[in-house]
């Protein structure tokens, strides 16, 4: 017989602990290192992907396109066709980024030779990783895989990555907590909009980068690459999110969400009190605005590990800080944006003490998603996202907003009930 009267206080205590760890997270961007040196399991022919576990036969178009591209990039296949044949024969070993302290945007592929950003959570002592943002347009994270995509990846691997690593080592790392706090006051929400944080980062990094890169034209190219990419900070925000959430995992009886992610086919969440089990449901279609020449008919369903930023209270949860982003689904008014953040406050346990929203009298962003509140209120997390073309090899076609599917949260709640012996 389960003592149900003792459950609520136990859950409350567990969630308090989870929230405390979450809010104390102190992420610092410290290095850029080749993936194989960070993740020993990442051998040749091993590919980490966004979202919960998935095999080739269920992968969506852009993820297949990216797999083919990365296989050619890594030299495992001579061309995209051969890569596709290899993939269908089971030549590649697929695992979620999340199983290796890593995250990746959209398709989110991580392979051995790619350099990874390293974020250290100095409050908990753990580290998390993410690839370097490739820029806008035709890029691998959106399923792009042609020569220009692979050339850029090679340049990141051979030039930019090592230079960033040296610069970060030289300057002793960049604390991200204050940087994000400033970015929020400047209209970023760190998912759809990273223009302020990208600029702030470049400002901090430029002197060290100038010391680290001897050749002026190389340096100029790197500064131009980062300076022209409004989303450069996204991947850093993601590694930051992962480094903050990982220590929140595995707190017995906690109902706090520790990961939300999508692979273009399934949406998956993890709950602190339910270990590393994934609770999945089919991903939904984003609603949004499209680049010229494209429409909703071209869109791939929701994809990427980038929802880790919503999991820590940014992205859709911080919409009130970035009203312009609300325009992807509505008129983009300040009231609409505030409304989205207010709704997220219904499903979260606390507010971040430093990540505040100026227009809301410096109220903190809503943080710590509680599956009980999601199921009770019927309010699912609002996620800001890019939209990939459904076919391989094309890339980004728009941006918008998507809802996390309720079924994940219901499944997780039922599993928690079983685990606590009250189902």
């Amino acid at each position: 017989m389960v003592d149900t009267a003792a459950l609520a206080p136990a859950i409350r205590r567990a969630n308090s602990k989870a929230l405390e760890i979450l809010l104390q997270g102190d992420p610092v961007l410290i290095d850029v290192v080749p993936a194989k040196d960070l993740i020993p399991e990442l051998k040749e022919h091993t590919i980490l992907h966004a979202g919960p576990p998935i095999e080739w036969d269920r992968m969506c178009g852009p993820m297949r396109g990216a797999v083919a591209g990365v296989a050619v990039f890594e030299g495992w296949a001579r061309d995209l066709d051969e890569a596709g044949v290899q993939a269908s024969k089971g030549c590649f070993d697929f695992h979620p980024n999340h199983h290796f302290s890593a995250v990746g945007p959209m398709t989110g592929l991580t392979t051995c030779s790619q350099p990874l950003l390293v974020v250290e959570n100095r409050a908990a002592g753990n580290r998390a990783y993410c690839t370097v943002n490739e820029g806008l347009g035709k890029v691998m994270r959106f399923g792009g895989n042609d020569e220009s995509v692979r050339d850029r990846l090679a340049w990141i691997r051979d030039s930019l990555g090592p230079a960033l690593g040296s610069a970060l080592q030289c300057c002793g790392g960049i604390p991200l907590r204050p940087l994000v706090a400033r970015g929020l006051t400047m209209g970023d929400e760190m998912h759809q909009r990273n223009v302020a944080c990208s600029s702030l980062l470049l400002r901090e990094l430029a002197p060290a980068l100038a010391s680290a890169v001897a050749d002026h034209s190389d340096l100029s190219e790197m500064l131009a690459f980062m300076g022209s990419n409004d989303q450069f900070f996204l991947n850093i925000a993601m590694a930051m999110g992962k480094s903050i959430m990982d220590p929140v995992r595995n707190i017995e009886q906690s109902t706090v969400v520790t990961a939300m992610t999508r692979n273009g086919t399934d949406f998956g969440i993890r709950i602190s009190g339910l270990g590393d089990e994934w609770f999945t449901a089919p991903v939904e279609m984003p609603a949004g605005l499209y680049f010229p020449g494209f429409s909703a008919a071209d869109a791939n369903p929701d994809m990427g590990d980038s929802t880790i930023v919503e999991t820590i209270g940014l992205g859709g949860f911080a919409m009130a800080a970035a009203p312009a982003v609300a325009g992807f689904v509505g008129a983009g008014s300040v009231a609409e944006a505030a409304g989205i953040t207010a709704r997220m406050r219904e499903i979260t346990l606390g507010e971040h003490p430093e990540w505040t929203i100026v227009s809301e009298n410096y109220q903190g962003v809503p943080t710590g998603i509680d599956i009980r509140l999601v199921v009770e209120t019927g309010i699912v997390p609002t996620i800001n996202t890019g939209i990939a073309h459904r076919e391989p090899g094309i890339g980004q076609v728009g941006a918008g907003v998507v809802k996390a599917p309720m079924a994940c949260f219901e499944k997780a709640l039922r599993a928690l009930g079983e685990r606590l012996g009250i189902s």
Binding site: G135, L136, G137, K138, S228, L289, Y290, F291, P292, G293, A324, V325, G327, F328, G330, A331, G332, S333, V334, A335, E336, A338, G339, A342, R343, R345, E346, L373, E376, T377, I379, G398
Partner: protein, 493 residues
Amino acid sequence: MSVTVNIVRAGVFLDSVVLMQISRELTAIQGVEDAALMMATPANWDILSDAGLLDEDTMAGPGDLLVAVRAQDQAIADSTLQRAAELMERPAQQNNTSQELRPLTLRSACRQLPDANLALISVPGDFAGAEARKALRAGLNVMIFSDNVSLAEEISLKREARDLGLIVMGPDCGTAIIDGVPLAFANVVPRGDIAIVGASGTGIQEVSCLIARAGEGISHAIGVGGRDLTEAVGAISTLTVLDWLERDVATHHIVLIAKPPAPSVVDQITDFIRSSSKSYTVCLVGSDDLALPDNAKLTTTLKDAAAAAVKNSKGLEALPVVQQAPAAGSYVRGLYSGGTLAAEAQVVFLSHRQPVLSNVPVPGAGLFTSERANHIMIDLGDDRFTRGRPHPMIDPAVRDEPICAALSDPDVGAVLLDVVIGFGAHPDPAGHLAGLLDRHGRSGSVVIASVTGTDEDPQVRAKQVSVLERAGVVVAPSNADAAELALAGLKIG
């Protein structure tokens, strides 16, 4: 042959979201094949090129805004560019979605009103317990308006409240007046030094309004629910509120309106009263079988309770001289929206040794099943009638069909009604009733009613009375008087 037109707005910056919204609007124009507004960065340049939107002569830099249209002909392209210019210059639209977002949960409401001290809960009964429990755990007192809350739930909630130093009012109690503020179904009465503690709403309303009519006032009125004085519940809420009132300097006299209490709780109540420094009126509707200490007086009707509570009860004595048409039938049919008012009418009939049946019988009355050749008092607000339907005080139409049936019944000589006004009640119950009687036409039976309310209520009692009188209804000054009149009419007939 389609035409592609580009316009460069040098040095103009607009947010990409705004630009995409304008692009979407332009693309929807008849005859436009594609259109885009973009800052002319190299990446965007490629996108526009791939979309076939670039004129090869166009020159622009990353700081320039490029408006690109591909349309069926030049005229459409020109008008589309014109439209683009209008949309770019349109001032930011004020939309009306800025209304304050209502919280969806008690939890977030508490954040909006951190010093809240009371939750008023009127969700369906199946859910009321869960909401009440959340409110208690958030440190709020609770008033449960909802009915159909299980006894087990009520006991559990009241025990939890007691442990937390809080109170649960109700369930199934729609009336409270706290520090002069009427909550849910309550009337606008003057402040005074008389407190009322009642099992249910209409009893409190009737007594508070009669006290007001006698020229005195109310400190607080608290409904504790019809089951609070049962053995199972053990008078938890009644004892809590009596304890609070004992320490309340604004209260000098306390009226306790109750059904006859369980023997196990009688001692607790009488012991409390005996040790109290204040005076009491205990109104046991339907029973005079209770030994009380000297500082308490027992009454069996609401009217008598009000008269006992006030210092001067003259205002409550006068009965109107009524010239009644002889009643055709022999029996009275009472159709009540207030349960305690239905009980009081039974008490009046029994005091005249008139047998009476009811779906909520007081001691001495019979349980109504189907026998119509009797005096019958029906409480239409009983749980059995209200599950899935509005309460007759909110929607008087619920009573229409039984009223018409009674008026057409040759056995019925008088139809007895309560009209309850005040906050929460229908905005014009008298008007509704008058309309019904008008449509039904003349009948052999008289219609006798009382109006529970005050002239300060939103519906204004005096206006309600005059509407009823114009419709041919005999209006008595109180519910007890109405019952007396119904009996008197039958005797005349």
